[in-house]
């Protein structure tokens, strides 16, 4: 599903690399936590998976594609098989909940009939059935994140990338979001989630990958958060 072979990433005009010689493999259906302090390279790791950045050295394979050789115009095709969720939700404030989810389908050219069928289904799945016509501003943070997850999941992606999805939520709401991600993972979707939330990591007992100053320092199945912020 995801394979990193001695991947390093140095941003232009910077001396210290953001990632140094990272090698790992994530298989189909896995749930992986990515932990590490700020600046440890978590975001760079995720950006490489999303092909928002290219590796400076080594090779990144995602969904069987070698990202070093993938031409720019093929990138959108790959991204359609990836779902992404962020800490700040990234919803469009002037569109309703339903429109926000539909937007993801519209821009990849899905038919109107298909959209009308899929959107309520996926909103039901994330527990927002009937809130289709609400505006994001009227919803709680947890509900907004559910909309974002619905949008990420509406294409039934093989891989879901979540960058601190619970970072803006209280512990109780976070638990709800984690249950949802776990359910999505059980449908066969691989989930990679960067987080600072020790409680969640410790509770879920999934594979944990820890980065420190760009190096892979721990890769543990059924691991715990394991370090103090």
């Amino acid at each position: 599903m995801i394979r990193f072979d001695s991947v390093s990433k140095t941003y232009p005009r910077q001396n210290a690399p953001a990632l140094r010689d990272v090698s790992l493999e994530i298989n189909r259906g896995e749930f992986v936590f990515l932990v590490g302090s700020s600046g440890s390279g978590k975001s760079t790791f995720l950006r490489l998976i999303l092909r928002e950045e290219r590796a400076s050295e080594g090779s990144v394979h995602v969904l069987g594609k070698d990202f070093g050789r993938l031409s720019n115009w093929k990138v959108p095709q790959v991204r359609r098989q990836l779902g992404t969720v962020f800490q700040d939700f990234r919803l469009l404030p002037n569109k309703t909940v339903g429109e926000n989810v539909a937007f993801a389908l519209e821009v990849i050219g899905k038919s109107r009939g298909q959209i009308r069928k899929t959107v309520p289904e996926v909103l039901d799945l994330v527990g927002l059935g009937g809130k289709e016509d609400r505006m994001p501003g009227e919803l709680s943070g947890g509900e907004q994140q559910r909309v974002a997850i619905a949008r990420a999941f509406v294409n039934r992606p093989m891989l879901l990338i979540a960058d601190e999805p619970t970072g803006n939520l209280d512990p109780q709401t976070s638990v709800g979001i984690m249950r949802l991600l776990d359910r999505i993972n059980r449908t066969g979707t691989t989930v990679v989630m960067a987080t600072h939330d020790a409680q969640i990591v410790d509770q879920m007992r999934k594979r944990v990958i820890e980065l420190e100053k760009g190096r892979l320092v721990r890769d543990q199945s059924r691991g715990v958060y394991g370090y103090q912020n």
Binding site: L82, R90, F103, E106, V107, N155
Partner: protein
């Protein structure tokens, strides 16, 4: 690709950016009407050239009695004689480059002068004696003027040889100069319009970076992401081009047909066919140019 979606995006973009869009429309309209105007002016000059060059003649002015006193250098021996006249006429007719030769007597010259200058106070004072007799030579090729000029200038009985083309040349040079100035101005305005478009598109892309960011994440193609911006610029450009067309048609209708045509009858002004043939060109340039500028502006901005 869903047209409905793209159209609604364009609508949002244009409304969000009303002032910039207006600036683009106005600058495109002005530069394109200058472009159309100078194209038409070029057409005008070349049709005038055809029209006038067809009529220009080389005039060989002959000495009269008055010249013998006022201009002893050109006419040292006094007025031209009958023999000299017949000799010149026969010679002129013998030239291969000469198409036709007309003789204009002093009396005829006087009549023409009176007609042309009937409002001038000079006309009342001039007498037929002062007018010069002349041969009006029409050449097959007006460029060959030199041949006649060298053969007859300084010859006995000939006062001077005048090429009417030289008079027109000055006029055409002036018109050409004006035309070049208009083209230069147009280029500058077009450049301003292009910069404005680039800037407008950038602002537009920036104000919608949230949307475009999400579009990229969910895998919209860059064509799909850029389309609304490009069409936005194209639509603004097209509106500008339509205004330019309106200005040109208005200019033809009010300025040429309604004003100049009545007052200046010697010039055959450009017709509606010429004006109409320029319009599609203006529209195409008006739509294409901003699209290309937008594409250029977005190339750096919206990378995958």
């Amino acid at each position: 690709m869903r047209a409905h979606f793209v159209l609604s995006e364009i609508g949002v973009g244009l409304r969000r950016n009303v002032t910039m869009t207006l600036a683009v429309i106005v600058s495109v309209a002005l530069s394109l009407s200058l472009l159309g105007g100078s194209l038409l002016a070029r057409e005008q000059v070349s049709s005038m050239k055809d029209f006038w060059y067809d009529k220009v003649q080389v005039s060989v002015f002959l000495c009269n009695k008055v010249d013998a006193e006022t201009d002893p250098v050109a006419c040292p021996k006094g007025a031209v004689t009958e023999e000299q006249k017949t000799e010149i006429e026969e010679e002129l007719n013998a030239y291969e480059i000469v198409d036709e030769v007309f003789h204009e007597s002093a009396e005829e010259a006087y009549q023409h002068y009176q007609e042309q200058q009937k409002d001038s106070p000079l006309a009342a004072v001039v007498t037929p004696d002062q007018m010069q007799e002349s041969f009006r030579v029409k050449l097959h090729d007006p460029e060959k003027y030199e041949v006649i000029s060298t053969a007859y200038a300084g010859r006995e009985g000939v006062h001077s040889v005048q090429d009417q083309r030289a008079l027109l040349e000055n006029l055409f040079q002036l018109l050409n100069g004006v035309n070049i100035a208009a083209l230069g101005l147009m280029t500058l305005m077009l450049l301003v319009a292009l910069l404005l478009i680039v800037n407008t598109v950038r602002v537009s892309a920036f104000s919608r970076r949230r949307e475009t960011g999400i579009m990229r994440l969910v895998g919209a193609s860059s064509f799909y992401i850029q389309m609304p911006f490009i069409l936005e610029a194209a639509i603004a450009g097209l509106i500008g081009a339509l205004l330019a067309c309106g200005l040109l048609v208005g200019g033809k209708f009010f300025l040429i047909d309604g004003f100049l045509e009545d007052r200046i009858q010697v010039i055959d002004f450009v017709g509606w066919d010429a004006v109409i043939s320029v319009l599609p060109f203006i529209l195409v340039v008006g739509a294409l140019m901003p699209s290309v500028a937008a594409l250029f502006a977005l190339r750096k901005y919206l990378k995958v």
